[in-house]
Amino acid sequence: MTDTPNQDTLWQRFIIALPYLWLLVFFLLPFAIILKISLADPIIAQPPFTPFFDAHGDLSITVDNFLFLLTDKLYAITYLKSLLLAAAATILSLVLGFPMAYGIARSRPGTRSLLLLLIILPFWISFLLRVYAWMGLLNNHGVINNALIWLGVIDQPIQMMYTDFAVFVGLTYSYLPFLVLPVYATLERLDQDLVEAALDLGASHARAFWDITWPLARPGVIAGCLLVFIPAMGEYVIPYLLGGPDALLIGRVLFDEFYVNRDWPLASAVAVMLLLLLVVPIVFLQRNQSSDAEST
């Protein structure tokens, strides 16, 4: 073969160009389209929105969809409720997940790898089927109610299915491993000698934890909380299956606006608003990740 160096640079260009173009067409362009459609008016036609340029070639855009989203009470409640439920699930995940990660990081190597495997295992089982499993637990005639009745704690089943409580439990259950893993990763790297030194110097266990362990674990805690919060905000399956008809979270409203009401511009505007809400945590997460990667 008599390849010239020119062919090598050609190959390098190819390696750069292919993934680049793919992402431009299938990632960035779709966002431009969403933004464009969110500025259109809905009409009964195919496709069901007004074109970007009208018949005279003038730009025809409107911010009505966004004004509607900002002034409509139902939407304000929806955004607030999504925010609250996602935040509540994040807090419960942290309360439950941090001690778990701590325990895993401090267990013997053999036990540790098994415990980690058990955290990762649910990831490989269908998300949908795992959410579905809760339907059988939370039902009025489900496992939890039956057990409580059998134990004599209650004599009437408690309505848990189709409530916000069910959505809250479902969110925490589904995203808990996302918190445990990054927290575990920082705790495992943590130099135990620092804690020992603090204890030797007379610090109490609580003091050593708050002054040494917690600050050093913070990058993992931040990453973990954001990895729970961000997907929980846009969740569709969990509120649909476990929540009641009034469990109007953003993800579900977006889907319904698009498929049930066929209002493409409004659905696009909902997506843009959700993205705006999430831009801050997403950028924060990426900063946190890259500074964490540099420090190691």
């Binding site: 993934p19 495997l117 997506a271 999430l278």
Partner: protein, 266 residues
Amino acid sequence: MRRQSRFILSMLAFGYAFLYLPLVSVVIYSFNDSNLATVWGGFSTRWYGRLFQNDQILDAMFLSLQIAATAATLATVLGTMAGLLLARFGNFRGRTVFSGMITSPLVMPEVITGLSLLLLFVSLKQYFGWPAERGFTTITIAHTTFAMAYVAVIVRSRLSAMDESLEEAAMDLGGRPLRVVFDITLPLIAPAMIAGWLLAFTLSLDDLVIASFVSGPGASTLPMYIFSKVKLGVTPDINALASIFILVVTTGLLIAWATMRRSQAR
């Protein structure tokens, strides 16, 4: 051996019970003879037999496996290229945009990815007449796009953990860059590529929301079929299907873990 405090031990016990109680209960109820999924009516395996006679499930499963295999392969090729780019190509023009684009799908809510890709496909059809029908092709493209991000992250972290001296030595000895990539770099990152492929395959098989957006009337993946059934409530045959998933994944991972442990112990 460091002692665990009682608090930590009880949190571990509670946490793992929380993670596994739903799975265990599904497996138990899948052997329930009763038509009512929540009332125990004796032991039976009839729902498993029912499952394999259900053509809709089998068709959906076949479509899902085809999409997952194609998307995982494409994602591994593109994701490896992207990982190489970020770890080894230095500061090429447009690097910031590129690294933003490659990591964003990891955290993007599914509803946004799904809606934006559907709108793209609708516009493409309007202007270019392609894709004429939504189904296998559109779902595969969508899955490739988000899965390549995961592959890129895995390959990139493997590359940055890896010593560059082997590649540099090959270059010093006169190997051309392309040759070095194929002879040195790719064999070294093969484990990361395999891990990436497996992850991409699982993610594709798992996805409901994005596929629901970009699919057309004719094509229904396994998660789409399951969702249409469980919307109406708990059903015994889905219990059986879920149990098969749980048992296959659990045995597979436990075997992998045991083999890894044995080879480490040696």
